[in-house]
Amino acid sequence: MIKALVAVFLAAILTENYVLSKFLGICPFLGVSKKVNTALGMSAAVTFVMVLATAVTYPIYMYLLVPANLSYLETIVFILVIAGLVQLVEIILKKYIPSLYNSLGIYLPLITTNCAVLGVTMLVIEKSGENFGYLHALVNALGAGIGFLVAMVMFAGVRQRLETADIPKSLKGLPITLVAASLVSLSFLGFSGIVENMLY
């Protein structure tokens, strides 16, 4: 049981990294990864929303939509729930951690439309089965969030070095960022197979 949970967690971080292997959530990946600090704050918020969203959407899907034969409403209901949750997180952050609220700025409301969050909640439904229950879904969401954090912080480090690098004029700015992103993504493909080998 615990072994399976660890496997799910590691898989979500390494082999199925939502940013670098599934290419979800590229907008904040490119937008907020200029500095390590903001990258950390953003990924913390995303992780929090991912776990919370999965905690709410999974039971809604399993115990409301499936019995009612309305599983095709998955997308719209999930977006509704995520949007509401982000609002809730925003209200709470504003009250208790205003400094984090200010530093996240526009990116906090943008989590609403972050496809990585929707992706985590929807893809986990596809995985669910006898060996993959509610707990697995939550661990998967946490792993996905941590994976997002790892990708963001790693890439922020890469970008901070890019700032001082001597880049050809035609590649300056976004082009070199995309090239660097693809290289980081390539390096993550090297993890494929690791988790399967660990399990069996």
Partner: protein
């Protein structure tokens, strides 16, 4: 049958929406942040550049301090007189005069008068370049023209021209961001009045200063002798003009053999 299915789907989605709405409404009431109306009103009036010239952490910090009555009125130099008047109206106090000042680069070392001692190919930043053997230029006190000040200026008042920074007093709002950005500490505030200003920061002896730059102050004391108001003094082989004593007669400007004292004419 079909109709029922559609109705059911609509009902479920609206029910989920309704529940979320109620939860949010309760949460927003529960976690409501009580905002000071005075602070909000003051924030509207302040320029919103968050420059920190007032000494507080941005406009919000100053607005909070004003609302509490801890801060003096005339601290917002970017906002100027208009802002102070509005703040005074909001707080029910009398307006005070804002000291008008502008930032000035105390260096004239363009490529015409001085040269670079190396071909610098590193990061385009004065702070980085100043770590390398005391900077790029022949004069270790002078402006390197890599534009750290220009890049922090929120008003675009600073231009780098021929290897030296220039600040347009008409555009400068006196926020002091450039003062902090300059690694050579060449920028300081001068009042907006007709006066003589020393455009050099070289503290070396005359011969060495002249070797470094054609417009360097060599500390010859001619300006000190000619000044009737006693506003000019020489310290460390460098002239200083006391802005309060300077009458704007510009005799020191005429007598300076190096051209490092210039007339400052804001209008």
């Amino acid at each position: 049958m079909d109709f029922k299915l559609i109705l059911f789907a609509v009902l479920i989605v609206s029910a989920v929406g309704l529940i979320i709405g109620i939860v949010l409404a309760v949460a927003s009431a529960l976690f409501a942040v009580s905002k000071d109306e005075k602070v909000e009103a003051l924030l509207e009036v302040l320029p919103g550049a968050n420059c920190g010239a007032c000494g507080y952490s941005g406009c919000e910090g100053y607005a909070k301090a004003l609302a509490k009555g801890e801060a003096a009125l005339g601290k917002c130099s970017p906002g100027g007189e208009k802002t102070v008047k509005k703040i005074a109206v909001l707080l029910g106090q009398e307006a005070v005069e804002v000291e008008k000042k502008t930032a000035l680069v105390h260096c004239l070392g363009s490529y015409d008068s001085t040269s670079n001692k190396m071909e610098y190919q590193g990061v385009r930043s004065c702070t980085a370049a100043s770590q390398l053997h005391g900077g790029v230029g022949m004069c270790k006190y002078g402006c390197m023209g890599l534009g750290d000040c220009a890049s922090v200026c929120p008003y675009g008042a600073i231009t780098i021209c021929n290897g030296v920074a220039h600040i347009d007093p008409a555009v400068c709002r006196g926020c002091s961001l450039c003062v902090e950005a300059c690694p050579k500490k060449l920028i300081s505030f001068v009042p907006l009045k007709e006066m003589a200003v020393v455009r050099c920061s070289n503290c070396q002896k005359g011969a060495e200063a002249r070797k470094a730059c054609k417009t360097a102050c060599i500390g010859c004391k001619k300006c000190e002798k000619v000044c009737e108001a006693g506003a000019v003094s020489i310290k460390n082989f460098l002239a200083y003009v006391d802005a309060e004593k300077c009458t704007g007669c510009m005799k020191c400007v005429e007598v300076c053999p190096e051209g490092s004292i210039t007339a400052f004419l804001p209008r």
